[in-house]
Symmetry: C2
Subunit: 406 residues, 2 copies
């Protein structure tokens, strides 16, 4: 009988210190890829977009009405309209064949190019027409109801800088330049691997002591939500050799996320593997759930060792992994969707640990929903979580708490 080789976590670091260490070792990706414009939404622009031509490319009518010589409408009113000769119609996509001469007007659609001679548009609501005569009921100033060439974007102008996150309107701005493809920052590829002899792929039958892999799916969800591409690596068994082979496979990607094997057990070997192949930067953080979390580097690539328990794993995926991914992906910090609500029930927190406590929102009140770290339903039945600081032991019923929605 050999003695135990279990290695308790004796030292933990505060959450903020863990965040700072991770941040120091995460570098924004420099890899660039070209995507068709219709796939650019949500991506990050890799190079500034410079306009090669004016938008709009010509001076155009900004309203439906009549293109006129503005000075000829001076003093027009309902009681004393100006009358102009209607010389034709111009639809969008057409170009005027004749200039608008003195005493003339051209019917024009919003977006059609202004005809030579005219310098303003009288809106249709301020006119009346019979045969070839148009009565104008109010004066317009030069350039009124006209969109000048280049007024939106001028040729040579930087339309979007590099690093801009491509919201719908920004993709629209690139379309306005006539672009069909765009260079964007690559999305971090995240190798996800659940470790442990007990972990079985869903769909297979469970033998004694076995459970289905949950963390692979929850981590993949967080990765997709925060700009990464999840890559599933085959489950590794609890041997240094097998885990080390798995690491070789993972090194083809930008970042590695292991779950399980980072606690105190003899076969929690992830830590040894990170140590053998690279550097462990921390192991153990003062949070609950999620204490047995490790972070390190192998060949310069970040490695997260998340706890095997589903709720612990997912909490730290949100709190530590997501910001790291956003930094790698050049994405703006996620603005958490938060609500401030009264707490529905007194909560006692673990002393000396920053605690994440899941809650359900019921009738405008945050009701504690936390079960156990090993319970996936602790999160799946929750609407969000509250945070209780390291130095707070109790939050009373009725106190206002900030709920971060899941």
């Amino acid at each position: 009988m050999t003695t135990t080789k279990m290695r308790p976590i004796r030292q933990t670091i505060p959450l903020d210190e863990a965040r700072a260490i991770i941040d120091r070792h995460i570098t924004p990706l420099t890899r660039v890829e070209r995507v068709p414009l219709q796939q650019a939404h949500g991506r990050v622009l890799a190079r500034a977009a410079i306009a090669t031509n004016d938008v709009p490319p010509f001076t155009r009518a900004a309203m439906d009405g009549y293109a006129v010589r503005a000075q000829e409408t001076a003093g027009a009113s309902r009681t004393s309209p100006r009358t102009l000769r209607h010389i034709g119609k111009l639809f969008t996509g057409q170009v005027a064949e004749h200039p608008v001469g003195p005493g003339e007007c051209l019917e024009i659609a919003t977006g059609a190019p202004m005809p030579p001679g005219a310098d303003a548009v009288v809106i249709v609501e301020e006119t009346d027409s019979t045969d070839d005569r148009v009565s104008v009921f109010s004066p317009v100033a030069p350039q009124q109801n006209v969109g000048r060439q280049g007024s939106d974007i001028q040729a040579g102008q930087m339309v979007l800088g590099d690093g801009e996150w491509l919201t719908p309107s920004r993709v629209g701005a690139l379309a306005a330049l006539g672009l069909t493809e765009v260079d964007v920052v690559a999305q971090p590829r995240v190798a996800i691997l659940s470790t442990g002899n007990e972990i079985v792929e869903p769909g297979q039958a469970l033998a004694g002591g076995e459970i289905y892999d949950v963390n692979k799916f929850t981590v993949a969800g967080v990765v997709s939500e925060h700009g990464g591409v999840p890559v599933f690596v085959r489950t590794a068994s609890d041997t240094i050799d097998d885990l080390s082979r798995a690491v070789d496979e993972c090194l083809a990607h930008d970042i590695m996320v292991f779950s399980g094997g980072s606690s105190v057990g003899e076969r929690d070997l992830i830590l040894d593997v990170i140590g053998n192949r690279g550097t462990v930067l921390f192991h153990g953080i003062s949070v609950k759930p999620g204490k047995p979390t490790a972070f390190g580097l192998i060949d310069g690539k970040p490695v997260f060792g998340l706890p095997g328990y589903p709720t612990s794993c997912l909490t730290n995926a949100y709190v530590l992994l997501a910001p790291a991914l956003r930094k790698m992906a050049h994405l703006p910090l996620a603005l958490a969707r938060q609500l401030t609500l009264p707490l529905g029930q007194r909560v006692v927190s673990a002393p000396g640990r920053h605690q994440f406590y899941t809650v359900r929102i019921e009738n405008g009140v945050a009701m504690p929903a936390f079960k156990a770290s090993g319970d996936i339903t602790s999160m799946s039945k929750a609407d969000g979580y509250i945070e209780i600081a390291l130095d707070t032991d109790v939050v009373e019923k009725g106190e206002m708490v900030v709920v971060t929605l899941l």
Copy 2:
């Protein structure tokens, strides 16, 4: 010379009325599709998920330590430890070969099945071991540090109801049941079509009077952000016949979004097409930008006629289309990402219209960024927008405003 056939919008309805009309005519989709679990994230569950077995499937150690008979640890302390005989080790994925007898303990890893005989786990931090002896420094109660079979999910229990939005933890809960595929609500397929003879696909050369299609891309972005699948339909020219053929193509999908052709011009034919093929439910809303917006039904399918101007089109895509899509997709209402900030500059609003005003956030202040409805940079250079109610004419510099982030 024929007289004008321009048809000014004489009547507009308030934004809330437009929203209510749309809501009355939007039905949540009932179409279901089966997807692999790794693609279920973000989708909506179509049928309740009932557990076919317990989770965890066996009673297990919740901590690393020693499986013991709890009563034998009564009174244990650092000064007066209880000593037990170490009979072996149990890792995860293994099943104990022998029960734990009186005076015995079994080293056990978190997640390993509890051996018969033992009813609690003493955590490793509260023990010391030499050879085959383990000293226990504190007592445990029965079931302490033990996760009971079915404590997370019991066989027969409804784990997730139909209509639940699949966040990462909910996908995890489905994985815990051993599922590999899941029935989800179909995503609304949105046929998107830009109308107008002046509209040219990016990548082609512009002739006189032509501009690049912008709205197709901005609307597609909004559609993807709100649970829909954008489907590009070829650009239609400004003839009733061509638009009607385009409608035939669109009817294969769940919802149609046209842009352009819904204003007052003679060739703004979308309205005629909706009227000929179905019913126009409204045309013209009291918002700025975005007044020339129409909504109707063709063969029971919703049709949006959005303005051709990029900012007007995109504003109404956010304000009217997005909620409609979320309802069709069974998605929860989007919790807008909002900030309350002082306004950096006085804004005068259009009387009698609910106004959306784009802003940039600069040094904690919301600075007006609105250019013109035809300008895509009015949105692409903005961080968000503020809303000015119908009955408000002026918002003074320094007043607090709610910024909805884009």
